[in-house]
């Protein structure tokens, strides 16, 4: 499982998290009582606010709902279970679910285990041009049966690191609106991708402004570094307050048979941070620290490869964003990297940018250069 690493190659507990944990530990009034089924109210409200933006019309119109979940995975699963029961009819397991090709490998199992029978892929990664296959993607959306569900990565697409531009998102939204396709966003890297919370939430907010009803599964694993506390949130955007209320009441039933009520520790940390102006500012700073380090590693790796004259183009390293990068190395080249250079990538050529440090940049760049020049 991928997690952020410092320039020393170490895990990093955010300073604001350490601070807030001490505040929580010192608070004698706190206990370990059950949270409500849908979670800690302050967490749910502030988490959804982070995704949708303070000025979101959906919030002011009181047509959003939130379900505190066990990480991003838990949020995806609750959303999937709800959709299978209530979307496009009752218990319509035949509704097609589209997952990008490639995608996070667990997406498939989430929707299969939720009961969906027809899981398909949509074109996403163009290996030849090392970028987004927008044409293929839009074509798949045009051909998809009406009411199909599409899993969209809000930012920092996993594993390719390749996101649509705002203009491309607009085209995607237009097709989805016309064809009545349901947007289910997976937002695991807000803030962590560009260093800017609003920028990383642009796509979700655009869809909201276009009047979509949508789900957004949020993870606070990476942007808060709270991996093992399992902090996530399913944000529901509806047409009106009443439908959201009914939706949440049914989500409660799903939560009740899955985990009853969610764990309190991580949600407390996030809620305390997000609701304090000072702590919120510190957090944004910590997030930017992580994002900036990854962005630096990207630009440093690219410039080294270009100085070395490594065959091919390497702008995709800096065009891509987030934790992962599809280097474009083929399986044989990947094997060389692993066996001869002891650098571990996935067979897909995916590299975890967090594994790069100022100390190993030269070695990694030279190794990629060797792999590309020696192996075809």
């Amino acid at each position: 499982l991928a997690a952020y690493r410092t320039d020393e190659g170490q895990p990093w507990v955010l300073p604001v998290v350490r601070k807030v944990e001490q505040v929580i530990a010192a608070d004698g009034s706190l206990n370990h009582e059950y949270l409500p089924i849908l979670g800690l109210p302050e967490f749910r409200a502030s988490a959804s606010r982070i995704a949708l933006g303070d000025g979101s019309p959906a919030i002011s119109e009181n047509r959003i709902g939130s379900v505190q979940s066990l990480g991003g995975t838990g949020a995806l699963r609750i959303g999937a279970e709800f959709l299978r029961r209530w979307y496009n009819g009752n218990n319509n397991t035949a509704t097609p679910v589209y997952i990008s090709s490639p995608s996070w490998e667990n997406h498939n199992a989430v929707f299969v285990d939720a009961g969906f029978k027809d899981i398909r892929t949509y074109h996403y990664w163009d290996a030849a041009k090392r970028g987004l296959d927008l044409h293929g993607l839009l074509e798949d959306m045009e051909k998809a049966p009406e009411f199909s569900i599409f899993i969209l990565h809000a930012c920092a697409h996993n594993p390719t690191g390749t996101d649509p531009t705002p203009d491309e998102w607009k085209q995607i939204a237009a097709v989805m609106k016309r064809r009545f396709l349901f947007p289910f966003f997976d937002s695991a890297y807000q803030g962590f991708a560009s260093g800017n919370l609003d920028k990383d939430a642009w796509a979700v907010r655009y869809f909201v402004s276009e009047g979509f009803e949508l789900f957004c599964a949020q993870s606070f694993s990476k942007n808060f570094g709270l991996y093992n506390e399992r902090v996530g949130n399913l944000t529901v955007v509806g047409k009106d307050a009443d439908s959201v209320k009914r939706v949440l009441s049914q989500m409660e039933k799903i939560v009740r048979t899955t985990w009853s009520n969610p764990p309190s520790q991580g949600a407390r940390i996030v809620a305390t941070t997000l609701t304090s102006p000072q702590l919120f500012a510190e957090w944004k700073d910590n997030v930017k620290t992580m994002a900036d380090r990854v962005l630096l590693m990207r630009s440093e790796l690219r410039s080294r490869l270009e100085s070395l004259g490594t065959p091919g183009t390497w702008n995709h390293i800096t065009d891509q964003i987030g934790m992962f990068s599809f280097t474009g190395l083929n399986p044989k080249q990947v094997e060389y990297m692993i066996k001869e250079k002891h650098i571990y990538l996935m067979a897909s050529g995916r590299i975890n940018m967090c594994g790069l440090t100022t100390k190993n940049l030269d070695y990694v760049a030279k190794s990629i250069h060797e792999a590309v020049t020696k192996i075809q």
Partner: protein, 401 residues
């Protein structure tokens, strides 16, 4: 138009409704006997001292936040298995078990239910005692299994309908799944005696049933962790390879931290490894890996001799307070002049008590005395204190005399 026009409003949670009504009541003497969490003699939530100490130790270590493995914190799962099975258990020592961390009792039950749905092909039927915890039915149903029942509680005597239970269990189709409450039956508080457990084990073995134990109150029921796990251990010793869901919500007061475990007793360690791999495949698309905070606390307590000793004392004191409240309630009822037989209140065990009160009597208790409980006459003894037990007895006497 909305995708959700046809989505119905879910039914209100009955227990939540009790608490909501309680909160609105302005009567200073009001009592909330619907609460499913322990309260001290001042009616306050109780954070165990051993938990506070464990938390302080953990905070001092300034550990990282890296993902746990899918199956959870190994030190915790091993200690949890040992707590349930006993350190001298052959099944434990031989390693012919797998224990995965679960999201408290519910999450552990659900993992097990999903596992049985996928891998227990002999039957789709889960037999629950009548009555059982309200959430058992939807958990197994959502996992894709069907629910059946066996007689358990006798409302005439407010105790175990043993002959009815044995009769029903002996007729359960072979290789069905039967769920048993290891101790402190929820909601009735009625547990079989050890001789009765022995007979049940014999019948269950004869019918070749898959036994699913739900143990949410180990230590919390009698005050003795070994005594409360007796049934679980007896069944295993009889060669019944049970599956087991454990919760640490009550016995460690870790409710909101969601600490639990699911265990499968296997033929051998190799089978246990294969079972574990399949449990992980079920867990990953649910929530990837479990939360660490509560598991770290529980692990530290179970694995540190000093903290474990302290925990055993504290869990006994919680159980003792409950038992004492039962005794005081009965003696106060006698003092009030009640001629009814209230022995079941002290015969029953654990957090809950099936008083035998009828819905009309429950309604009067609420309307006239601001005493809140569920319509079935179940009270949470945890909500009773030395300060209000007299009032409770008085009120019960008024509505039953």
């Amino acid at each position: 138009s909305s995708w959700w026009s046809h989505v119905e409003m879910g039914p209100p949670d009955p227990i939540l409704g009790v608490t909501e009504a309680f909160k609105r009541d302005t009567n200073s003497k009001k009592m909330n006997l619907g609460v499913g969490a322990y309260r001290d003699d001042n009616g306050k939530p109780y954070v165990l001292n051993c938990v506070r100490k464990a938390e302080a130790q953990i905070a001092a270590k300034k550990m990282d936040k890296e993902y746990l493995p899918i199956a959870g914190l190994a030190d915790f799962t091993r200690a949890s298995a040992e707590l349930a099975l006993g350190e001298n258990s052959e099944a434990f020592k031989s390693g012919r078990y797998v224990t995965v961390q679960g999201i408290s009792g519910t999450g552990s039950l659900r993992i097990g239910a999903n596992f049985l749905q996928r891998f227990f092909k002999s039957s789709r039927d889960v037999y629950l005692p009548k009555p059982s915890w309200g959430n058992h039915t939807p958990i197994f149903r959502d996992a894709g299994l069907q629910l059946q029942a066996y007689r358990y509680y006798d409302p005439k005597t407010c105790s175990l309908d043993f002959s009815g239970a044995m009769d029903d269990i002996s007729k359960i189709p072979e290789k069905s799944i039967i769920l048993l409450h290891a101790c402190a039956h929820n909601p009735t508080g009625v547990d079989p005696r050890q001789e009765q457990w022995k007979e049940m084990a014999a019948v269950v073995k004869k019918r070749n049933l898959l036994v699913y134990f739900d143990m949410a109150y180990q230590g919390f029921a009698s005050g003795d962790i070994n005594r409360d796990a007796w049934a679980v251990r007896h069944f295993i010793e009889q060669g019944i390879n049970i599956v087991l869901a454990q919760s640490y919500a009550k016995n460690m007061g870790l409710y909101g931290e969601r600490v639990g475990a699911f265990t499968v007793i296997c033929s051998d360690a190799e089978e246990a490894k294969r079972v574990e791999s399949q449990l992980k495949i079920l867990i990953r698309p649910m929530y990837s890996n479990p939360p660490i905070n509560g598991a770290r606390i529980a692990s530290l307590i179970l694995n540190s001799p000093d903290l474990r000793k302290e925990w055993l004392v504290e869990v006994k004191s919680m159980a003792d307070r409950i038992i004492s409240m039962r005794t005081q309630l009965v003696s106060n009822l006698k003092k009030e002049g009640s001629s009814h037989n209230w022995q079941h209140i002290t015969d029953q065990i654990g957090m809950f008590c099936f008083t035998g009160l009828k819905p009309e009597q429950v309604e009067r208790l609420t309307k006239e005395f601001s005493i809140y409980m569920t319509k079935d006459g179940r009270i949470s003894v945890a909500g009773v204190t030395s300060g209000n037990v007299g009032y409770l007895a008085h009120a019960i006497h008024q509505v039953t005399k």
